[in-house]
Symmetry: C2
Subunit: 350 residues, 2 copies
């Protein structure tokens, strides 16, 4: 990590909050102060097969080590924020059936962390946590509302309206990967079991690879170099690298991805009108520093322009995210901080 | 009007609020108390060609007459709420370019009403006002969040999340008629100038009539009785009446309307996850008391069921609206009441 310099603890301002971001491979956690500075950060392997209780214990021990090293006591920490992949039951604090954590289903993870850490825990969807991170400290910091789309293994989303996350009454709010972008009868199916024609089936990393492979197979003769290559292990990153090298087929599939995303962005903006749409996640085709990334972003904006009204287009910024893989733990910490401040202000116990 | 019994003013509870609903044909207004009871109601013709200032004066005079008849002074009224058709600039209090009020463009209607009435005015999009009405007093009264779709000349929408309307930073929030439901290159265009394939181009009254007419024209031979009828003046209501009488073609076009709506509902629910979607507006195919209305509602639910996840389907109610044409002024009053209470609570002046 980290996108921010670490700050000495004696310069930190209360409340301090732990942010924890549970992923399929790693669990990241950082101690974050009122200004969003990360005072300490570490990560552990998720080790999914060992189950959630072992992971909670591992994170708890690592957090204690970090606090000891910083010389701060647990009483200096106001709260923890915890972002996890869905499906989940936010009110109950439960993981329900996260596809990438099959042995963790129906586990009361919020309360397990609360007990291990001795802290109240704010429980969040991982993409919503990342959205709040970008909103608090990243691309969204000057905005009052925002939509984040995370492009990676799946397509996640997080929506903030006037400083509040849209979490949903069934813990299914901001699931922007599941809005319809293709109404045709033969529209693509999402690998994670979503409905036909939904954004995730077009703009996830796996979907981009699949669409690329189909494009080559449908060509009368596979174009070079793809006639010589085994594409069965192809990744979205390799497609990006081919595009950087000027490969026409790779550029075409990235342009088409931008168009599908532009359709999705249009429906989302016409629902929320947030003024800002942020593209995050690992699959950013090089991001703002790459010509391919810039072409991708321009493609999303152009599709949106064609489908919206002139004043809405003018009043809406579409940009890349800034915090990278840190957005999740930072946003979990930020939303926990927000809950702490609200409960402190209202006199409720935290 | 009205869907509610009038209440004697001496049983009314403060704050009293005027709700005003500006439409292309009529302007409705009612004095509403804390419980949502309407103490007085009237409407005037909009008379669009005479311009907005004349309409404001007409409403102002009618409101004074009603207050005199009730024997209440203006000081007993806390605020007014004003719902208008878009496009608009909510922060500036301006109508921008409402298609059905062409001579009212770029008019500062909020401040004109505030000056005429001597009251602070809460300014709202008309469909958002109707949504808040259903949320406060109608189908949504037991819910914390809700989406309203209004089916009529256009398709409007209003979204409430945790008691807050999604108004948008460009005054374009909750424009649910403009989400994409048809991605095909030859998708329908909205008559109001929206983009291709958007919900309004399929589920407005005009779109239903157009789709019905095309269906008959595309039939090898127009089916009876349509081979004898002039369909150039056909209305959505006549299609509903034909469906009530069992006409297969009318039922087919209503079933297809339900499917397009079900697609739109899916994208909206996956964005907001409100737990409740309400179908309002004049085009309800007879509503809950009609077999055709029930078939229409069942069709929307079935399309949604096929496209969503089992737990989200179980956790989402789709129902008809209850307040009919009163939802607009009631919701404008309700949102003004909410603003009044918030500003009173925070010590800000109203």
């Amino acid at each position: 990590m980290t996108s921010q310099p670490l700050v000495p603890v004696d310069r930190a301002t209360p409340p301090l909050v732990w942010g924890i971001d549970v992923g399929g491979t790693n669990i990241k956690f950082g101690l974050v102060d009122e200004q969003g500075h990360t005072l300490a950060f570490d990560s552990v392997r998720t080790l999914e097969p060992e189950g959630p209780a072992a992971a909670v214990a591992r994170v708890g021990a690592a957090i204690e080590r970090l606090e000891q090293r910083l010389g701060i006591s647990r009483s200096a920490v106001a709260r923890a924020g915890l972002g996890c992949p869905g499906s989940m039951d936010l009110a109950a604090g439960m993981l329900i059936e996260p596809p990438n954590l099959p042995r963790w289903w129906n586990y009361p993870i919020r309360d397990a962390f609360a007990k291990r850490l001795g802290l109240s825990v704010t429980f969040l969807n991982d993409a919503n946590a990342a959205a709040y991170g970008e909103f608090w400290l990243g691309t969204g910091r000057e905005h009052s509302s925002m939509i984040l789309l995370t492009l990676g293994t799946g397509v996640g989303g997080g929506i903030i309206v006037a400083d509040e996350l849209i979490n949903g009454v069934n813990s299914f709010g901001s699931e922007c990967g599941h809005i319809l972008v293709d109404s045709r009868d033969d529209a693509r199916l999402c690998v994670w079991g979503g409905g036909r024609g939904q954004l995730e089936a077009y703009a996830s990393a796996g979907a981009v690879v699949e669409r690329f492979r189909e494009k080559i197979q449908q060509a009368h003769q596979a174009p070079p170099p793809w006639d010589q290559e085994d594409t069965s292990e192809l990744t979205a990153k390799q497609i990006y690298q081919a595009a950087e090298a000027g490969d026409r087929w790779a550029l075409e599939v990235i342009d088409e991805t931008a168009r599908w995303l532009g359709i999705g962005v249009t429906s989302l903006v016409h629902t929320i009108d947030p003024g800002l749409v942020v593209l995050g996640g690992a699959m950013n085709f090089g991001g703002p520093s790459s010509p391919v990334g810039q072409r991708f972003l321009a493609g999303v904006r152009e599709e949106f322009r064609q489908r919206t009204f002139a004043n809405v287009f003018r009043g809406t910024t579409i940009e890349f995210a800034r915090l990278g893989g840190d957005a999740g733990y930072l946003g979990a910490a930020g939303y926990a901080r927000k809950e702490y401040l609200a409960s402190a202000g209202s006199g409720r116990s935290v």
